[in-house]
Subunit: 426 residues, 2 copies
Amino acid sequence: MSKVIGIGFLGCGNVGSGVWRLLNDFAGEMEHRTGLRFDIRKVLVRNPDKARCIDFAQGVLTTQVEDVLGDPEIDIVLEFLGGEKPACDYLMEALRRGKTVVTANKVAFALHWHELQKTAQEHGAGLYYEAAVCGAIPIIHTLEESLQANRISYIYGIVNGTTNYILTRMSREGAEYADVLADAQKLGLAEPDPSSDVEGLDAAYKLSILASLAFHGRVPFENVHVEGITSVKAEDIRCGQELGYTLKLLAIAKREGLMVETRVHPTFIRNSHPLANVNDAYNAVFLRGHACGEMMFMGRGAGDLPTASAIVSDLVRAASAQKHCYPTFDNTLHPQVALENNTDWQTAFYVRMLAVDKPGVLSHVTQTFTRYEVSIAAMQQKDAAPDGRVTLVFITHRASEKAMMQALRALDTNFACVESVLRVES
Amino acid sequence: MSKVIGIGFLGCGNVGSGVWRLLNDFAGEMEHRTGLRFDIRKVLVRNPDKARCIDFAQGVLTTQVEDVLGDPEIDIVLEFLGGEKPACDYLMEALRRGKTVVTANKVAFALHWHELQKTAQEHGAGLYYEAAVCGAIPIIHTLEESLQANRISYIYGIVNGTTNYILTRMSREGAEYADVLADAQKLGLAEPDPSSDVEGLDAAYKLSILASLAFHGRVPFENVHVEGITSVKAEDIRCGQELGYTLKLLAIAKREGLMVETRVHPTFIRNSHPLANVNDAYNAVFLRGHACGEMMFMGRGAGDLPTASAIVSDLVRAASAQKHCYPTFDNTLHPQVALENNTDWQTAFYVRMLAVDKPGVLSHVTQTFTRYEVSIAAMQQKDAAPDGRVTLVFITHRASEKAMMQALRALDTNFACVESVLRVES
């Protein structure tokens, strides 16, 4: 005897349609494996008359959110609207009515986790969000359930498929950012307004969620330092390649004691690092726990069916749960162990500069670096340009970012102009 | 108020000590996060007087299994003995007494899953075995919980650290198998009797477990075709490298409809495949689901703390469960959908042969291949050896293995002698 679970959709775009398709095509096998049957009772859409490939039964589509939230036969609400408003209000209202929520909404969690979880706990409702980070990769569940016995010291993530696609093509083709972006938009791999992706915000939302779970303390979105890929130049990718590095938009979270640093920015990593081979629209999370050691999880971070794979696994988990679980964050439970935001991080640097080709220039640069305790790991000088200036490329050892910036400001611009500075993780 | 869970160890070698250490060092944080405290009441050992680094309380060590299984305060039994006997008897007895079992014992599951699960279900006991496959990588849990909405079509695994370490060093150094094995034994990275690892049995046990979960039907260990790495030659690794391939001991499981093939053997994969960069003692599982697409999970497959990371996560799960879950296998529930064992698989091949250097030889080889419907994807001819014979290396397109073997037997040995045949997956 299967258990029938009434569900409602908020929104039915790309991901919603994928979930519908997966539930529909797979209903028999699913029921067989899990003893569950899902009955899609209501689907909130903006325009019910729009042509769709989905064959909804009469009366399922609605423009009124109350038809979903107010239906007593709906146990679980699946939210696909995304963004903060009105999605968060709907999620809160669903939870207040005791309905379990399954969502892919990273913004809701990055900005309003506390309220969502508090409301869910107060009303005995479940809160499931595997699909909010890295699509099909079960990284949320892994952090919550499989790595509890670990003190996680760092996470490096490629968590945005659009930017990884753009950087992969820039690397392969030597093409410039604007050209690849335009092509990605034509191919539907970047949004018409790509700003949330290319400026790193999407990755920062996800990093706030991953770091909170990994470090067992809320790491607010506001603490994440964010830089996107809009000013990445093909020439820097090429210079990095010559030194054995690949450029990725990394979401980085590190913890030492109670100090946490979280940052999203273009980052050079060695070609031999497992993340360097994560290409195109793939996502990956690389992390280290004190017991498990280093691990990597790679997969499709977006797309209708990969996201639906995560949503439906949450749906089964939600429908089978005897009791819903919630992560516990040390800094809400125990303010004395609140994590602190470290903004003076250490990292290695890639610096490209144009210098006049005369004696003393290199020694000026290296002496200035030394004065600020920045030491050089690798250097390359290139043939002079037509204007007589030469390109110098440096990779430094780990240094305080503040010291590095001071060193660069202290360079005499009559000798050398800094063209690009990028961070390096090794 | 924390809940105290009495636990007992069967065995306390490398992994058992790791679990003890992790539970001990991490007890405070664990309790804080999970509300659970674990009380290690009894530890079965062969010799209680042996010197240990662990400081067990008086009366904890015992040589009598009944002290563990018969202790009414022990809720969960952790088994670290490994192997079939006597571990399986102890596991069965623990389950019959309603005690939940957490184990890293792959042999027990590969050979006796059905009895273990039946007994566990009959007595309401839990059965947890994340650590049985790929150490710290949560692949069991991922297959059971996060990929339920997928029809998985294939799994490629690097599931044995010892053989991956040996092949990695053979590839890097151009060294021969016997030399690297001897060195690995000196370093403690291979057992004094390495046969279970190097002959592929260890990987085959794990593949039987992974395939059963992925395909939702029991894939018996006996069905796994097993070849180890003992006859791998440095020259073949080198020839493969020249053509852009890396040699790995892959555990392969594929499903098409009800036909399943499972095999463990040295396999060439393209250098660009994510598994090609999984080196040293690391493990990884690469799989494809119809919804999630391709995914890879990489991490430490062995070692005390990585294995303990998986064991302790199972322990927390077992202690928190309101109800224990068990996988359902179609072929026990529904014999009409029993999976069938496909032994006539298709794969691409690498063939190295020594041929006399005279006209007509190449055409003889290619015509023979064609006669058996084997088509050639790449070919390389090398300089003649001192005996005047030339080395020919072929990579074929996918072909029936049976046809390939017939083709090789049909070659005229006056023209060409086959030196090596290896499979290629792409």
